[in-house]
Symmetry: D2
Subunit: 326 residues, 4 copies
């Protein structure tokens, strides 16, 4: 097994539901296969500071259902410097960690890629991000839970929207990728989704809404991906209010509730299978790959491909939203 005895594991970047299920799967699969396992707290920062602990099977008991990450996460500026990474690598050596499993989003995997290139040891990544914006994998750990959290929140808002017959702009996460907004709109029967992949003019939006009201729909809900370009839900609402002052417009920014919560079945199963595959990857001698899932099969994706910013959305769904909001 290439002289690998001890696997280190860390979570990095924004936390995502299912990270704990992944930590559990990596830990137990590794232990089952005879490896030693070390948990590294606070992501790369903990690697720098030596916040490292030997993990036994009990360390991951009864965590599969917990949101967040028991390993904590942090952003580390120091790790972005060559000196920082050298320090981190030296700590790894001191702790006899031979391989690393990194659970996180694109920033975290970009860091992993650089780290691995400099010091030539195996890193395997797991896609842990609610945004689903990693390429080479159909879905990411945390995305399904976040989508359901959004759906439940919008269901609640629709109760009140329908009681008052109002227009709601609801902002969801996804600065670079519209998966949450687009699929959230389908799942909630929203009237429109404003996503970074597709430019939307206020006029188009207004027309759509007017059509809705003309058909005497009792409420209209628009899901908006957060964005510095459009100004998000708040920016959009401002422009609609300016041009169409007759609408009673309300804005809700879902914010940090989208990251938390007990993971869904799909996320727990995905995280479990991917965690197992990460250890398999190390056993097989893979390095510097992210575990992905495509057509329900686990695959290995080179980091360079995973962090490419070109994951396509399903554009047919835009038409679906339009048809179904008649």
């Amino acid at each position: 097994m290439l002289g690998i005895n001890c696997i280190g594991i860390l979570t990095s970047g924004g936390d995502a539901p299912g990270m704990n299920a992944a930590i559990r799967a990596v830990t137990r699969t590794a232990l089952y296969n005879g490896f030693e396992v070390k948990g590294i707290y606070h992501g790369y920062r903990g690697l720098l500071n030596g916040e490292i602990e030997t993990f036994r099977t009990e360390n991951v008991s009864n965590i599969i259902q917990l949101g967040g990450t028991i390993l904590k996460t942090a952003r580390s500026k120091e790790f972005q410097t060559p000196e920082g990474r050298r320090q981190a690598f030296e700590n790894m050596q001191r702790e006899h960690i031979d391989a690393l499993v990194v659970i996180g989003g694109d920033g975290s995997l970009a860091g992993a890629r650089e780290f691995a290139a400099e010091f030539n040891f195996p890193i395997v990544g797991l896609p842990g991000t609610i945004d689903n914006d990693l390429s080479g994998t159909d879905t990411t750990i945390g995305y399904d839970t976040a989508l359901n959290t959004i759906m439940e929140a919008v269901d609640k808002i629709r109760d009140t929207a329908m009681s008052h017959e109002r227009l709601f702009f609801i902002e969801v996460m996804g600065r670079n990728a519209g998966f949450l907004a687009l699929n959230g709109a389908i799942a909630t029967g929203a009237e429109a989704a404003i996503i970074p992949e597709i430019a939307t003019e206020v006029d188009q939006l207004a027309e759509l809404i007017q059509n809705g009201f003309r058909k005497s729909k009792s409420s209209s809900i628009v899901l908006v991906a957060e964005s510095e370009v459009t100004g998000g839900a708040m920016g959009l609402a401002e422009r609609v209010k300016q041009e169409y002052p007759e609408y009673e417009v309300r804005v809700t920014i879902l914010g940090h509730i989208q990251r938390g919560g007990s993971p869904t079945a799909a996320d727990r199963i995905l995280a479990t299978r991917m965690g197992e595959a990460a250890v398999d990857a190390i056993i097989e001698g893979q390095r510097n790959v992210m575990v992905g899932i495509q057509d329900d099969k686990l695959i290995y994706v080179p980091f360079s491909k995973a962090i490419r910013d070109d994951k396509p959305i399903n554009r047919d769904l835009i038409q679906t939203i339009k048809m179904l909001s008649i």
Copy 2:
């Protein structure tokens, strides 16, 4: 029974979970007792516009679990004028509505009080508001559900707060009354609650937070009642950041999700019992009272008392929060 044959029912003001359970209880208790029942849509506005429909038992089938209000709600400027109220009363007469049940908050009950005074017919109010800010009743329809919605949202945020070790300000409803913020803080184990009833200095707050971090708590959460005085969560966060730039502060405004959702058991039971009591009140010849609950007994509270802005919070809970966040 004082010549009352037909009872009208409407919901008014902000919607609250449990309103449908109350509509069901009023409708069926009235039908069971031989009354005719008419549902009035869009609150007082529907009374003005004649949006009125005869209700049978099927109209309220399978609604006990729904958030919002099937009767819709609206705010009506016209009803605030004497001419508007005259119009509304004439519509009631045309529809042969002899008595009215109004479900809503303080504004709605103030309107009911004026309406009843002018035209001398029985109105019974039900306290339907998530804010719990009506006097003469221990609790209001919708409050328990909103409190649980807040709790679940804060539980989710704590997942991510703990993973990142951050300070969160979370804004909840309750412009005039701190029930949601105060009890929400107890229920979530928050580090502090900022409520309108008690002035809080930024220094006090910072001290509290610093104590928390000194004790190496992994996260701090402060619940803040929305407020024009303090600027709510956003205003507070600004001031803390200015004076203590070393804190990583995040803000979430829960917003409209607090009004929606399927009502809790407590709210459904309360709404059911109060709805039944509203019809009893009419049978007993009560008029111009709100149904309240005190020490688990249903009582009648004069409108004038119900809308008094002096419902006391349980100040002991402030000390409880302080003790339990050590």
Copy 3:
């Protein structure tokens, strides 16, 4: 403070949601007031076996939202013998535990009463049981959560009951007390509740159901308290099927899901306030009392009164169910 330096805490009997919130409140209130705190695992059995650990504030961090009990619970036959209790008391002395807080149901408090009588030291009880069958307190820790769990399960079953137009008997806990069945029926709009406090003939039940079907209700749901007398939901369904073979009858026994789950806001707040009051009781020199709540005020109830099997249900609700299922 009567020479009390160290407070022991244990949970006993069936677990109930909110026990962890109570453990947290007792621990931190005690620490805040300068006491030492010791957690005793597995109830009285752990007292016998010496499964005892010093508790610091971190031991109860982030547990307020968890179902079950971190202190575990067990039933101990040995503790029911004088020798067993002597052993337990000697362990307490060895650990310098001067006072005990016991969280549990009637069996646990009966044990506490006997233990305290024999060895003359302060025990304070907290009512922790989903059944709400302790006297002298309006409600118990865990009851509100269980009621909501039942409600959510019945809401789900009603989806399918309405789709198929069937008659469902759903069994809930409450062998000696019908609170869950009765209030669960109100909260779910069920057609009837079969509870131990009130004998129900199959004929009455059948009449009620026939009325429902005659009125072309799309489904009928009856909540049944578990019972050896009636045979519970299964026994009842058998008898109805025998006499009325034309009904399509289904049975669901909710079982152990009723004990678990994250506690509701009401249960967390109740457990927190009661936990604080337990420590206050010890400070005040109270002994051999259960903390209760009456009309929202915390009170002390002698054990002998708390375990009396005579807590009255609200019989008006039977009539409410009947009226509202028209």
Copy 4:
């Protein structure tokens, strides 16, 4: 468009969450494309009895989030006879229904296949069943929701299992297919899954459980698919208790709660996409096919293939469960 003007839609067999989302999507997509739409109540029985209603866009407003089926469902013995089907076809002609969309499980699609063969008109099926036991499609409408419902129930039971350190057998649906039990076990971190596809000896099971207890796991949970062969959870528990009386065994049968509840995001999106595809199929001249999804692409599956009883489970997951319960 082959002379098709009016599309009928019905739900049949056991209800599944997401059926309403499918009804909404079929209805609105059909209306958007210029078809007339007729809703048929109570499945094939309603076709026989003429329980048919013209559907407009409002008929499917605000139903995407509802469990069950607004069209109701029923089993019809009469439809299983040639005379019954003739009657049904004549009613279709009288109502000018040219094509049928049937949402249901294998029995319903087998009926559709026979019906279409006899009268030569287009029927398109949608896979609506929580069991996921239809071939030619990766997943079925309702499966993801049922899986999450099971997971949430088991999470609750684990709270109490861990508090008491017990062995639980939990029975889930899936008489012919172990998807729910197997994936439910992965999602909840259960110690084993007993499924129809794989014979399990009591000895194996006992060994597994003993290993668990030897490793001092605090509880053991086994998910069991309902089965007449093994006797389900109850039968299994009996045999374990007989041979290993030292275990404290508990049984819970989840039952009908598994069918209900608001559908998850995945089920709503799946149902929406499939509903749209059903209308596309009719437009394209497809007939006697079920809409399936494979590798996230919508496909058409001949009825004969869809109802074949040979859908493979992912056997790797058995090993995963074993590894992760160390």
